[in-house]
């Protein structure tokens, strides 16, 4: 196998975010999260439950694009009303995007600027408040910059660890921000006060590059590991089964 691309490294890092989840609904928002979650399901997390993007739940794993796809095997039905039930039951791990994210993992996908007359209206709250208070959440940031990783988000849609702590142990007992995966590295909150920590750098990325592109001070361990490279088996699955048209590479800057 020829060497892994940055997008393939990201796909594996995303898959790793779902390791240990077992039998839960995963909702990967975005192309590489779709690819990464499928990779996890085909390798170390076979019990993950996934929709086709709409209401049908698919038992098999289909490629993310292309015409000659195998027939879907439908194992269930999850219209939006049941999605909310599933969210509130906690048996779910969502990976959302973040237009802004801060050091405690507060996320903003609603708008940029003054709320009454925003500079940029974005998607809105969507399900972020309910997701983050009810079940495990991770984030995918394809373009790591100090405009995304900011000291303070303009609107808190998904709640971070400081907001969760302020609610107290009862209300925050289901809150977990598992992982933030960007095109430069992997981040977690494994620090005393749950500030964001650099967990690994993708191959070819320098520590300086991450620090320069992050608008707040990251916790940085004495030794920063490299994000693990995809195995040959994983590369084969990515290239031949999950993403044969390599659309994942279109989402990420190298």
């Amino acid at each position: 196998m020829i060497g892994a691309t940055r997008a393939e490294v990201c796909a594996v890092a995303i898959a790793e975010a779902f390791r240990g989840d077992g039998e839960v609904l995963v909702s990967p928002i975005g192309t590489l999260p779709q690819i990464g979650a499928r990779l996890a399901k085909l390798t170390f997390e076979p019990d993950l439950l996934m929709t086709d993007g709409v209401a049908p739940l698919l038992a098999n794993v289909l490629p993310v694009s292309g015409r000659d796809r195998p027939d879907p095997v439908i194992e269930g039905w999850l219209p939006y009303r049941k999605v909310f039930d599933q969210v509130w039951s906690g048996r779910r791990h969502v990976m959302m995007g973040a237009t802004q994210i801060d050091r405690y993992g507060n996320q903003n996908i609603a708008c940029i600027g003054d709320y009454a007359k925003p500079k940029a209206q974005l998607l809105g709250m969507r399900g972020a408040p309910g997701n983050t208070i009810n079940h495990t959440t991770s984030y995918w940031v394809p373009g790591h910059s100090d405009r995304v990783f900011v000291p303070k988000v303009d609107v808190v849609t998904g709640i971070g660890y400081d907001r969760a702590a302020a609610l107290g142990p009862v209300s925050s007992r289901f809150h977990e921000i598992r992982r933030v995966v960007s095109n430069l590295g992997v981040f977690d909150f494994a620090t005393g006060d749950h500030r964001m920590r650099l967990a690994s750098l993708h191959p070819g990325v320098s520590l300086d590059e991450v620090v320069e592109n992050t608008g707040f001070e990251l916790a940085i361990p004495a030794t920063v590991p490299e994000t693990r490279a995809p195995s040959d088996a994983e590369l084969r699955l990515l290239r031949e089964v999950i993403d044969p048209e390599a659309i994942g590479s279109g989402e990420v800057r190298a």
């Binding site: 709409v54 209401a55 049908p56 039905w77 219209p79 939006y80 009303r81 909310f84 969210v87 509130w88 609603a110 708008c111 709320y115 009454a116 007359k117 925003p118 500079k119 940029a120 209206q121 974005l122 998607l123 809105g124 709250m125 969507r126 399900g127 972020a128 408040p129 309910g130 983050t132 208070i133 009810n134 609107v155 808190v156 849609t157 998904g158 709640i159 907001r163 969760a164 302020a166 609610l167 009862v170 209300s171 925050s172 289901f174």
Partner: protein, 282 residues
């Protein structure tokens, strides 16, 4: 009871300042013929409650909206609704922005005549900060947990679009998702269903299974047959989204002259039939 009516008669019931619920989701199975009919009136200051798509975008662009209640506004294949964005960024509309699940809970509270329903969703987020009228409530049981008291989203009028309906107001969806159309109807004082095709009651089960019969006739006051009435949103299995038209719609948000041209060509026409002819002729 024969509840068949027309777009014009249904929309004639609306008044300035009313709270209107619109079914569907994003750019999916929206009662667009009704929205277009509202654009033909001089109604204003409406509060629109919607899992928002081009329904909300069109009403904003036409200056009909005072306040939007939403969890998101999207065209699906075009993630951000450009006309809604313009209204927000110009500061011309008020908002009641909610988590998507809180929104459902608000409809359900209204549907079941409860003042509120408790939920964990919203705690700690800016939903509560941006909507200071929202309150929390404490569990009266031993857990004493604090929860958001999501208030009922009571509607004056609801509009939903079904694949099939009968003259009595029974409604059938044939696509993958019912969305929340039953709750919209149950949350409203007056309820109108537009449909692709009016069928005889005895023919429902030739169209789909028992489980596709979403609306029963106690939930509906008026039925309007509007073939392609969800255009340009999707209405499977009858038709998919008209992506080319949706792109044309989105491009019309570029500047006021583009909007005027789009409005003149498709919307400033005498009725829905004229709209459908203009779409077919392009």
């Amino acid at each position: 009871m024969d509840k068949r009516t027309s777009l014009a008669s249904a929309v004639a019931e609306l008044r300035d300042g009313m709270t209107i619920g619109i079914g569907g989701w994003g750019s999916r199975r929206k009662p667009m013929a009704v929205v277009r009919e509202i654009l033909r009136t001089d109604l204003r200051d409406l509060t629109i409650v919607s899992y928002g798509g081009p329904d909300l975008g069109l009403l904003c662009a036409a200056g009909k909206v005072k306040r939007a209640c939403f969890g998101f506004v999207s065209l699906d294949s075009i993630p951000l609704e450009p006309h809604f964005r313009a209204a927000r960024q110009n500061g011309t509309i008020e908002t009641f922005e909610l988590d998507e699940g809180m929104f459902q809970w608000g409809l359900y509270a209204a549907a079941t005549r409860l003042p509120f329903l408790p939920t964990r969703a919203g705690l700690g987020s800016d939903v509560l900060k941006l909507n200071p009228q929202l309150r929390t409530v404490r569990s009266p049981y031993a857990d004493d947990e604090e929860l958001v008291a999501m208030p009922a989203l009571a509607l004056d009028v609801a509009f939903v679009h079904m694949n099939r309906a009968d003259a009595s107001g029974n409604g059938q969806y044939l696509g993958p998702d019912p969305y929340f159309d039953d709750l919209f109807c149950m949350a409203a004082k007056r309820r109108f269903v537009s449909c692709e095709k009016l069928v005889r009651t005895e023919d429902f089960l030739k169209e789909g299974t028992l489980h596709t019969l979403l609306l029963n006739r106690t939930m509906v006051d008026g039925v309007i047959e509007t073939p392609r009435g969800a255009h340009f949103t999707e209405c499977p299995p009858d038709y998919g989204r008209d992506e080319a038209f949706q792109r044309e719609y989105a491009a019309s948000a570029k500047d006021p002259s583009a909007w005027q041209a789009f409005f003149g060509r498709y919307l400033a026409l005498e009725d829905e039939a004229a709209y459908q002819r203009a779409v077919a002729a392009r």
